[in-house]
Symmetry: C2
Subunit: 354 residues, 2 copies
């Protein structure tokens, strides 16, 4: 990661994000101390992010010769805020208590409430309310930043950006919903479904949204926007598949996420679909969706998946998605500078696991 | 209600709402069948609403001599969509399975999942995901409708509308959060807190938002906007207090809501705060937040509150909020037509209980 980070760009992103969150928090004073405290929890949970989405947007905008740096910075911040919104809601849905080593917004409120509440249901409602409302406030802020980006006399650009946001939010919702409904009928999920879920759940808002927004802001021709969108989707798929691998084979101390959780939640990832026809299946099937799975059993499942070659097959899928992205970026319509920027982002995936 | 409904306006609102929801659903086809089905559940849950928010906006805009009927209609629809978004999330937070006699979005998904899921946790996640994502999609649609309202060469009006939406969403979040956190430390909630929660939870987006947006669209002077905002807040407070009364004394067959639920959830409404110093308190305190309270006990609590005069005192609060609204509307800055429109909305509260 570090090699691709432009310190100046990162500082500009952090400053913009700080400013927009501080402005929103300041507006919350009119609403009451409860909401101000909720923004504080949000800001705290947002600290130390890698800001990959805003940096990808700014890099792409610059590489395409974009002439709207101020609007690009604001829309870049919007994508980080959108990410925070999805995290807040995703953590509620999955019941995750930690993210990147920090307590999640909903779990802070539930724990604080549990310490004093007479009824456990009241503590549960407090956690749900805080997590859901935090996400709502962030979602509104993200949309507001796009809608008010400094774009004088460019209403068509603003309309196009609002369409991009609509499209990616609908696709993210699609991926998230399929991710949660998959475990209910795991056998109905095929490899194409698992790959679509992987692409939509994260790739749309993490890669396609920033890249396409940058292209729109840089007045790129439609043909170029389409090629970049496809390349970004491949990159995003590689990213999510890598994330699935880390969720099973990763080092908990590095990822900050338990390697039991995907298994316990019964997530039907590409890994699970590919395991079906292998010797690892009986053991995996017996523990998929088992909330009480132990560390020792999870380790056994992990070893079985490695022995059966399932890990290697998913790594191959990561490689082919990355190769597809690079091939698309090699098309003549893509300017060299944009190819370099997205190629460098693709390089992130190599070595993320090894 | 019926007397104030202008059938032509209602038809225009229904048509606009249908069109915007259908457009959003059509855009969802690109995202996948899961999201299209989610929109279907949203559209079904949205049927048969009274559309009081859009009608209030259109009536006020017309009464103030507003010249932006198309933008007003789109922003009016946005407020109904915002209402649907808050309902979707509120139902998740409160765990309500029915609203206006129809199953809520989250509960449809949880029930469908429970019928086939091996683990109850998977069904719970399915319900959470559907309810939260439905609200997210609606929230984005509401914001999109405001951001894209047909307002040529009126960027200041659009910016003002986006500010109105920001302010009311933050206040609604504040009211909702306090509503849920109140039961955790019920003794810390005073009458002013309970009244603020009542005003913010519903009045902001149901009354202040539509009225102030209408005034902004009609280019009303700042002084008039301020008076109308205060009057709308009083009306909204009266509305929420009436709702609290219906939640305890209402006819379940009419409200479609169990009269046990406020008691079971331990909501610290004005009714509860006012009961503290009365003979009804020991019985109420013993069952506040009791999830397993029976119908018979709820009826006993109800009778104790009536005997102790608590019901009457809340009815007096409704009357004084309504009177305050009418007094504000009597100020010289308010045009006669606007006074009539808001006065007619105020008249809704009289007789809603009697």
């Amino acid at each position: 990661m570090t090699e691709i980070v432009d310190r100046t760009a990162l500082t500009r992103v952090e400053d913009a994000l700080d400013r927009h969150l501080a402005d929103a928090r300041a507006r919350a004073y009119q609403a009451g101390p409860g909401v101000v405290a909720l923004w504080d929890a949000v800001v705290d949970a947002a600290a130390d992010g890698k800001r990959v989405r805003p940096l990808l947007l700014l890099d792409t905008h610059a590489a395409l010769g974009g002439q709207r740096p101020d609007a690009a910075l604001q829309v870049a911040a919007a994508f980080e805020v959108l990410h925070l919104a999805f995290c807040a809601h995703d953590d509620v849905i999955d019941g995750d208590v930690r993210r990147r080593g920090r307590p999640t917004v909903w779990s802070r409120y539930e724990q604080a409430a549990a310490a004093v509440a007479a009824h456990p249901e009241a503590a549960r409602s407090a956690g749900l309310a805080a997590g859901i409302l935090a996400g709502d406030l962030l979602l509104m802020l993200a949309f507001r930043l796009v809608a008010t980006a400094p774009l004088e006399r460019a209403d068509d650009v603003r309309a196009a950006l609002l369409d991009v946001v609509d499209r990616i939010v609908q696709r993210t919702a699609s991926g998230e919903l399929d991710d949660v409904l998959g475990p209910i009928r795991p056998s109905s999920v095929g490899l194409p479904d698992a790959l679509t879920t992987a692409a939509y759940k994260t790739a749309e808002y993490s890669f396609v949204g920033p890249v396409v927004s940058a292209a729109v802001l840089a007045d790129a021709p439609a043909e170029l926007v389409a090629v970049l969108a496809r390349a970004a989707r491949e990159l995003g798929t590689a990213y999510q598949l890598t994330d699935d691998l880390l969720g099973t084979f990763g080092d908990e101390r590095v990822t900050g996420k338990s390697v039991r959780s995907d298994l316990a939640e019964g997530k039907v990832t590409a890994l699970v679909v590919l395991a079906r026809e292998t010797s690892a299946w009986p053991l995996l099937a017996a523990h998929l969706g088992d909330r009480d799975v132990t560390d020792a059993t999870a380790a056994e499942v992990r070893r079985a998946l490695e022995r059966a070659g399932v890990r290697r097959r998913v790594e191959e899928l990561v490689d082919s998605a990355t190769t597809a992205a690079l091939q698309l970026l090699g098309e003549p319509v893509v300017p060299g500078a944009a190819r370099d920027v997205l190629g460098r982002h693709a390089a992130m995936f190599e070595g993320r696991l090894r």
